[in-house]
């Protein structure tokens, strides 16, 4: 690989004069200037950037390349810019993007006007041995504004290193200075004040072990509040299903933090916010459920025998109608005075300076101690409940175990920065396996019930609806088979989690005996 060199232009730079000067030593051929409208895309949560991929369009083509590399991985023509993965035609492009963006929408991050003027340096055979490219980038439709980036690129051609070396010397002698060869992506986003990777739902906080517990809890809660605020601000645009999902996860984590980080705030404060946040969550339950059914549409259809596959379409049409209503319901909630007051009070509470005297039992306890206590206790609880299920083969308690696991997971994530990262990740991964199994089982139960219930809503008299009902029946049966498999897998998944090696690690990290001994 040979690297392109980037130079900043000197003051009072004159392109033509510079090229004339070079022409005393080199044969130079000017190529046509290329004006391009560039648009860069990513998902709301920077999924492509996080994989070091850049998706952009120029003209009517879409390109995918690696960050800091000029090679195009894939390119495809489009008539309408794709938003969701299903908008792409089958092919390599789609194959590479699908597992990364999944159900998220592609958003335009920035639009830019780029102008590049290439010059080729030729040898005596009229062969290109190096390239010079003047590049100018500016926001579109603002010809009068100064370019936001102006550079000269020296692009060596493989096999002709001497030319590049000599040209670099000439360029520097003419007053150009070497610039950082940063990807144009960063400059482009800087123009619109965007920071790649700035949004993530991962608990990106650092706690100090000696911190007071009430203050540490506020750090966690402020992070979650920020995630809620960010998603709430774009909710109205209905970008994709994950805006609501991220909002709800942050909300659920907030409620869990209020309940599980025990006795750090006055009881009255905690219970008021817990109650109000529960209400906000409940208001969006129906919309989230509908989103999940609609996201699963293809998977559901794949479960059905081919003969009845398309018969189920009226169900999804019905669900889409319901979704539009549910969306408005959530929208009204987020715009309500009640919600605004709640969030304002919450923010004010989180920003209050710490009280002089302790207002709750654990408020002044170093957070590391509270974290150890709560995580260890919860982990013992999970093992106990799981063992009970194994012994009695009960299905009813599975739901309770799922909730307990969730609480444990949240606690571990809130306090992850206090413990060794590798060990923490290993434990979370093991817990996640168990959660996935329990989550799948719960989803399948809920879905079966929902389908039974929704079937009653369809206008049963119509002939094609009868076919739909048959298809729904067939789907319920398919879900039942899957449920059975998932339930079968529980014993092994749980035994893996309850294995001595894992439990010893929980003990070593969190038990107070292990710490004092």
């Amino acid at each position: 690989m040979i690297n392109n060199l980037k130079f900043n232009l000197p003051d009072g730079h004159d392109e033509k004069q510079f090229i004339r000067q070079l022409a005393d030593q080199y044969t130079i051929k000017k190529e046509p200037t290329v004006d391009e409208r560039l648009r860069i895309y990513d998902t709301f949560d920077w999924r492509l950037f996080n994989k070091a991929l850049i998706l952009y369009s120029a003209g009517n083509r879409l390109f995918l390349r690696k960050l800091a590399k000029s090679e195009i991985l894939h390119s495809v023509e489009f008539s309408k810019v794709p938003v969701f993965i299903q908008d792409f035609h089958a092919g390599e492009f789609k194959k590479q993007l699908a597992p990364i963006i999944k159900m998220r929408a592609l958003l335009q991050l920035v639009e830019l006007q780029s102008r590049s003027t290439p010059y080729r340096i030729l040898n005596s055979d009229q062969k290109t041995v190096a390239r010079l490219v003047f590049e100018e980038i500016r926001p579109p439709r603002k010809r009068s504004t100064p370019a936001s980036a102006n550079h000269l690129w020296l692009k060596p051609v493989k096999g002709y290193p001497k030319y590049a070396r000599n040209l670099a010397k000439r360029i520097e002698a003419a007053g150009f200075t070497r610039g950082k060869a940063e990807d144009i992506y960063f400059e482009a986003l800087a123009v619109v004040d965007k920071t790649p990777g700035s949004y993530s739902t991962k608990m990106n906080i650092r706690l100090d072990p000696a911190m007071r517990s009430d203050q540490a809890a506020k750090v966690v809660l402020r992070f979650l509040l920020n995630v809620m605020r960010i998603n709430e601000a774009v909710f109205e645009k209905d970008l994709d299903t994950e805006v609501l999902h991220d909002f709800r996860v942050a909300l659920r984590r907030t409620r869990s933090a209020l309940a599980q980080i025990k006795n750090v705030f006055p009881t009255r404060t905690t219970s008021r916010f817990k109650k109000n946040f529960a209400y906000v969550g409940k208001r969006s339950n129906a919309l989230r459920d509908l989103d999940v059914y609609l996201l699963n549409q293809d998977a559901y259809k794949a479960m059905l025998p081919a003969a009845v596959r398309d018969d189920i379409d009226p169900l999804f049409r019905h669900l889409r109608k319901k979704r539009a209503k549910a969306f408005q319901h959530v929208m009204r909630g987020l715009k309500s005075k009640k919600y605004a007051t709640l969030m304002k009070d919450w923010e004010a509470f989180l920003n209050q300076p710490p009280p002089d005297s302790a207002t709750a039992l654990n408020a002044e306890l170093p957070v590391i101690e509270l974290a150890r206590q709560s995580i260890y206790k919860k982990s013992l609880g999970v093992v106990k409940t799981g063992n009970k299920i194994l012994a009695n083969n009960e299905n009813e308690t599975l739901h309770a175990l799922r909730i307990e696991c969730k609480k444990l997971r949240y606690l571990m994530e809130f306090f992850a920065s206090l413990f060794p990262r590798k060990k923490m990740n290993a434990l979370i991964a093991q817990l996640k396996n168990l959660q996935d199994n329990l989550g799948d089982f719960n989803d399948l139960c809920v879905q079966q019930e929902y389908l039974l219930h929704i079937a009653a809503e369809l206008p049963a008299g119509q002939r094609h609806i009868q076919k739909t009902l048959v298809a729904i029946g067939s789907l319920i049966e398919a879900l039942d088979r899957e449920k059975h498999d998932v339930r079968e897998a529980f014993a092994k998944t749980f035994t893996d989690f309850a294995a001595p090696a894992i439990q010893k690690l929980f003990q070593a990290l969190f038990s107070s005996k292990a710490q004092s001994g």
Binding site: F63, E71, K158
Partner: protein, 250 residues
């Protein structure tokens, strides 16, 4: 990395012209492409204005010495590099026979290029010996230009028989018509019967055109010297067929 060979056991059928134009069109899509000029006559190398010189020498080429990789040159076009020919490559058949594991040496030599290039196009000389076997082993698929004449069809049959005898997968061989004279009835008739008789015949052909012969004067792919010409369009059609039928399914 995918390797595509432009190969025929008959001379003067338009292998080099196709290799040069297809490699250019591939690079234009942003794909890092390498054209390997295996022909000691070095025509592809000449078209790209590069000196026919391998730093490794022919033995080093067969053994895959460092000199091979240092010989690669950038062309006039972004994303397109060339491994130039060398007159000494005429000894390839002899040298492959001389060293052990003689039929997979070319494949092994190309392997280190996988990190940098996504497509390698081999411009092959006329051969049907050990070098041909090296090419068939190295290529993921082989494009065979065919003039619609009885002699050409006969040579193609010889190639298929050779592949069957040596157990090479004939499903990886795709013929396409080249140097087609659309005014000749015989060309038209033969094209029809060959397309019916053989599998994998690409439904895109390159006509016999002066513009293609002029590549020697302009020393550039026709898509560069005459972008709007029929010659340029026929290679573009061929390239889209190659992408759709061969490269995408791989």
């Amino acid at each position: 990395m995918t390797t595509l060979a432009l190969y025929s056991n008959k001379g003067g059928v338009g292998k080099t012209a196709a290799a040069v134009n297809l490699s250019y069109l591939s690079a234009q899509t942003g794909t890092k492409t390498l054209i390997c000029d295996l022909d000691p006559q070095g025509s592809a190398t000449y078209y790209f204005r590069v000196k026919p010189k391998l730093k490794s020498g022919p033995k080093g080429f067969v053994k895959g010495n460092k000199g091979v990789y240092k010989s690669v040159k950038g062309t006039d076009f972004e994303n397109l590099d060339i491994l130039p020919a060398d007159f000494s490559l005429r000894k390839l058949d002899v040298l492959y026979t001389k060293f052990g594991n003689s039929k997979k040496r070319l494949k092994k030599m190309l392997y280190p290029f996988a990190g940098e290039y996504r497509l390698i196009i081999l411009d092959c000389p006329v051969t049907i010996g050990i070098l041909a076997e090296n090419i068939l082993n190295a290529a993921d698929c082989t494009l065979v230009p065919m003039i619609p004449t009885t002699l050409s069809v006969r040579t193609y049959n010889q190639l298929l028989a050779f592949c069957k005898k040596k157990r090479y997968d004939v499903a990886k061989i795709y013929p396409f018509f080249s140097m087609v004279d659309r005014h000749k009835k015989m060309h038209k008739d033969l094209m029809l019967s060959v397309s019916r008789k053989y599998r994998g015949v690409l439904k895109s052909f390159v006509p016999y055109l002066a513009q293609i012969e002029k590549m020697g004067i302009y020393r550039a792919p026709v898509a560069v010297s005459a972008p709007e010409s029929l010659a340029s369009k026929s290679y573009q059609n061929l390239w889209s067929k190659v992408q759709k039928n061969i490269l995408n399914p791989l």
